[in-house]
Symmetry: C2
Subunit: 469 residues, 2 copies
């Protein structure tokens, strides 16, 4: 399978607004129906009532009695002078050493590439059911270590030949919440028919992009996988005539640029310098040694109410079957904002990204949106460009949507995802050292390698639809 | 400064065998003379006699009293089923969180690109003085945190504009010895004349490659920096006619290949799968909790005599000035072997690399030479392809040289660096899962990003000279 034929398939699936599942509204209706048929009850309970979970008597870490799943532990962070950050702090963090698997199956149906999506319930979701990858599994599930019941469609991934693999990347999760956590993002193409199932639906890429213009419909796991699907510079040419907007053409021009390699080198050098200039030393400590956080009967929280709190949840899910379990969840103290500013420079659309240091990062900094913050952190040291983003005129805004974080760990968390075009007089050169204008081609190149773009930036990129800019 | 002009400069400096310093033999003579003028005495002393160093009373870690420099600590490693590795072990490791700076200045002299090399003494060097980068500095030196005496030529690096930067990468050190240690590899071009100094010499890239055919002349730090200097596919064309050998042409063809991106994607997918299949969990533990190692008065060593030992060294260096200090050093228990097999596949030269898990790796595995082992580890589970390498016929061997590891940490350590071409009947497909044939273009692409090629593989690649294959 060549790049070229893959890209033509992708482009066809972007332009095809009608896939086998019908119109976008049909998919939304189907999701609403799935939501109607399920009841999700979350009771917030004290930690000592969480079945299967306990505070480790030595460390105070909140752990599952089996030692599996994940734990809430402490981390101590030392860094040195990174803009807007303290040099030393401690905080709780989710420690989940296993790589998660996020897999999407695609298949040509009636000449259109379609993606097999799952209507999946997660306890923390604001709206119960969202469009999720074909497969979400832990590494143990995936490897079938415990010989338990195999997740649906697992065998397609385990048996995929290398010619079926469109994508196989390890990408990071939220560096402020997880320690070094990554998921394996996989897309495979399957030729044979796959048995239908009431929780699964075939959707085109164009439909997925359209669905991402609705609040909290496409889940975070889907968005991160989709962000890795792109075209490369050689193969994009046949699409050119199908792009309808000036913005779309300005983005395409970056993919066509012949000396993109040089720009990428410059960005890599800039990153090397930042990763050398600033150190990040994060080490696990016992949760009971974390300072500035209170461990209470029903929450782990900062007295000043900032950032997030850890809560205990009793989950009851009723649809065709009844499932119930207890687990800790992370609840943000405010909704967040992830905003990306773009601007044409020399006829090519560029994005203003920042190199952001977060305590759980594997490699000091990752590229992040122009603005990434909780609304509450507006108080202390205003993030750069926040004012500009909050005061943007309506005509500048490409999209402005609430997107959910992963509902398996985060309780009712949504972030405002905002893409906007800067005005002509927006400064091109006077930007802080840890900010940089990069073209789409560079971002696509960085996406091929691990741990360069953070999950918030990937979420924004996934929603960009060259045909509807 | 464009890639193209950089590459033409590089090619000229490769072909120019006579740089301002004269013939290769002149440089060797100059090094011998530098060696003659210096006296290095290393006394091995008990740890309790090491001035400035002590065992931490709690952890047993061997540390400097200032808390600076580096420490010998313990690590506990858990992994799961990686070929030829145990699933759990503990060992001593060098913990040196600071990024080191390895910088080389280049400059056009009489129309030929030259590199400013330093004849540098390191306590652990077998032969006192080796050709080293213009600048070797710690991050604190580099940032001038302590306002001490600036290392020579530092200001050129600190003041370099982005147009002067040829290379700026963070690359790993030995994953079996260091925990997550990296160095910043920088090459900058300077236009102005630089004051001469008796310990510095201008050398062309061709001369450096020729010098790498001598045992222990070009130090590890120089080799890792040079490995990052490459040509990219577009710009290599003008060189074609200057390549004299069939092997050189077979390597060039991989750089010219138009669909190299697809091959790189496949290799990235293969790496993602391995990094998901195998986990690596390395955590610092107190040195006094390390099992299977004895902490004696004069050494930290395994009773079975495997791997390495930690020793205490009193260093006395006399040349124009006298310098003396104490420090721990790591001494290998056997010499090592790093061998890379190459083979033409479809007219393109490919290298057989392995994804190797070492406990100090930042990201589970890095690409390593076909064979990388201490001679002592031959006993337990013969490494793959070792027999083939040790029994290669003379005509297969491109080079076979002893190269030193970094003499600032390692005592009299050299590894046999061997590049050989496989015979026609060498298996192309029947190789273990964690081995893969990759072309030069792929390796060059991976080198641009951090932590993909380990230091042993980079050392071998640095010594490849397309004009003398």
């Amino acid at each position: 399978m060549s790049n070229l034929s893959n890209n033509i398939k992708l482009v066809d699936s972007l332009t095809a607004r009608v896939g086998p599942a019908g119109e976008v509204q049909d998919i939304l209706d189907w999701l609403i129906e799935r939501n109607r048929q399920v009841r999700v009850d979350i009771d917030l309970v004290d930690f000592d009532r969480l079945s299967g979970w306990h505070f480790n008597s030595d460390s105070g870490d909140l752990e599952h009695v089996s030692g599996k799943f994940f734990g809430i532990r402490g981390v101590e962070i030392r860094t040195d002078g990174f803009p807007l950050l303290r040099e030393h702090w401690t905080q709780p963090i989710i420690d989940q050493p296993e790589v998660g698997i996020l897999g999407i199956i695609c298949r040509m149906i009636d000449g259109v590439l379609c993606f097999l999506m799952q209507a999946k319930i997660e306890p923390g979701n604001l709206n119960c059911v969202q469009l999720s990858p074909t497969l979400q599994a832990t590494r143990s599930n995936y490897m079938q270590v415990h010989k338990g019941k195999a997740p649906r469609c697992l065998e397609y991934f385990r048996n995929a030949g290398s010619h079926q693999i469109w994508l196989d990347q390890l990408q990071s999760e939220q560096g402020g919440r997880f320690l070094h956590k990554r998921n394996r993002n996989i897309v495979i193409e399957v030729e044979e028919e796959i048995a239908s199932h009431p929780d699964f639906v075939w959707v085109t890429l164009g439909q997925l992009k359209a669905l991402m213009r609705y609040d909290n419909v496409v889940n975070m796991d889907t968005r991160t996988v989709l962000s890795g699907l792109g075209w490369d510079d050689r193969d994009i040419l046949p699409v050119r005539d199908r792009i309808h907007t000036a913005r779309g053409h300005a983005m395409l021009r970056s993919l066509e640029k012949k000396n993109g390699g040089e720009a990428i080198n410059r960005t890599l050098f800039w990153l090397s310098e930042l990763k050398s200039r600033y150190s990040l030393n994060t080490r696990l400590i016992p949760l009971n040694q974390v300072k500035e956080w209170d461990i209470r009967a029903d929450e782990i929280v900062r007295p000043d109410g900032r950032f997030f709190r850890v809560i205990g949840a009793r989950v009851l899910i009723e649809n065709r079957e009844v499932a119930s379990w207890d687990q800790p969840l992370i609840q943000p103290m405010q909704d967040g904002l992830c905003a990306l500013i773009m601007k044409q420079i020399d006829g090519v659309m560029h994005f203003l990204v920042q190199a952001k240091l977060e305590c759980g990062n594997l490699d000091v900094v990752e590229l992040a949106p122009t603005v990434q913050c909780l609304t509450g952190s507006f108080r202390s040291g205003l993030p750069h460009f926040l004012d500009y983003v909050l005061n943007a005129r309506r005509e500048q805004i490409i999209f402005d949507i609430n997107q959910s974080e992963e509902g398996g760990r985060f309780y009712h968390e949504q972030n405002r995802n905002l893409l906007l075009e800067a005005e002509k007089d927006f400064p091109k050169n006077e930007i802080p050292d840890n900010f940089r204008w990069v073209a789409l081609r560079e971002l696509r190149e960085f996406l091929r390698f691990n741990n360069y773009l953070n999950i918030q930036l990937r979420s924004l990129l996934a929603a960009i639809d060259l045909f509807n800019l």
